[in-house]
Homo-oligomer: 285 residues x 2
Amino acid sequence: MVAAPDGRVVVSTDLLIEGRHFRRDWSSGYDVGRKAAAQNLADVAAMGATPTSIVVGLGMPPDLSAEWLDALTDGFRDECALVGASVVGGDVTRCDLVVLGVTALGDLGGRAPVTRSGARPGDKVAVAGRLGFAAAGLALLGSGLAPERLPEGSPLLEAVAAHRRPRPPYAMGPAAALLGATAMLDVSDGLVQDVGHVAEASGVRVELDPEAFAVAEPVALAAEELGADPLEWILTGGEDHALAAAFPADAELPEEWRVVGRVVAGQGVVVGGRAVERGGWDHFR
Amino acid sequence: MVAAPDGRVVVSTDLLIEGRHFRRDWSSGYDVGRKAAAQNLADVAAMGATPTSIVVGLGMPPDLSAEWLDALTDGFRDECALVGASVVGGDVTRCDLVVLGVTALGDLGGRAPVTRSGARPGDKVAVAGRLGFAAAGLALLGSGLAPERLPEGSPLLEAVAAHRRPRPPYAMGPAAALLGATAMLDVSDGLVQDVGHVAEASGVRVELDPEAFAVAEPVALAAEELGADPLEWILTGGEDHALAAAFPADAELPEEWRVVGRVVAGQGVVVGGRAVERGGWDHFR
């Protein structure tokens, strides 16, 4: 039983499948627990709510080690603790793969929920949290990089860690609601694709300014290492669970928010003046 | 966003894996949706709450037909409609198997939640809903029976249908809370095993009287057909999602409840005077 003092509860659910959303050779059980919790907690925060609890359905092969399972549980607990939430229930079943069904609940504390459909022409678009980190880390791991051979303190390790454990800016969600956010979501599939959902739900066009993004050192270094374009990771990389929101033009945003675009009449997403085709950024390049 | 007028919300989650919890050649998409919803809605009802909403995480192979998917969705909707709940969110991802992560929420309407841990010596144990039907249906399907060759109106069809779509006595859950139920759960794994959870959580012994159970016609006929023991299905068959509860000895129970045992000091489950070993009924026989 979960307290729902507001009298309303927001809910987010996700299914994570081994091999698709995580690999046990790239991520520990603890990492998987942290990440699985984080993506649902971030989704709850993106509605302007404070996460209160998580329930977990776990499908597991019979040979999964007790250590891995304990670490997974610890990961869930520790990520929930960041926001004052807890794991309140679960279900375990046999499965050939590790499968996690995660559902997070949140409380609105009297605030109106922020949806994807409230962005209006004239709004500014801003982002809180990291972009491109997890994509850079995934690319590094995919290139065959052995993180344990990197020197301690290498910025590349920060990118790899970001793939394993996102760090969503949870507190920015309810704060954005109080700042008057008209639409919000967490960036799970890539900024361009995700603000496309806001554009569609709100019946507006979102214009992003590629010059507005900072390229953080781990992302820049990883791009240099792999001969990749850091802006592509920033614009299309998922799983960092940054928050992207539209705010009224006169909203005074704290420094955690970086304005990266604006809402205009029309439809779809425009990056640097060029429309992104249906099908996403990949097709656009 | 879900209304939680009580200010508390109860949550139930389950993971259903193709091949383990359902087979696409034995159950339609519609059946799977009905059953997946039912088992979580029943769990919510067993806490004395009224189900309000469901969220569904769906893992699906790329070749899953649109018809199957539509039927699944219809099944979820129709089962939820039985209790006035609705599907409020979801997540879809690729997976080699069909995997369903289902979470149901419920509202207590001011009642105290009924847990598994409140049964006290002197309580009577009662069951509402069907027992043994789904197990009989599963056994019939497993025997190679082709339901479409049975004559219309055959009671065996009712057993097969019970395997595909349980019919939990949802309304009996909140009603039991009002009648003073001290512990309750829905029978998902088999009555003996599930009341064992109540015995353990409550620190009591549950005595079941094998003479107290009615053997319904579909169960009796299926047992005759397959040379099986109907009482074994009734005592150990899961998935009918009957409600089993402990009530104070002086509680006046409506006819939907059948008294099948009592709570005494001690531990474990006793059937007809014989203790059920740890490991369950199968080991006992």
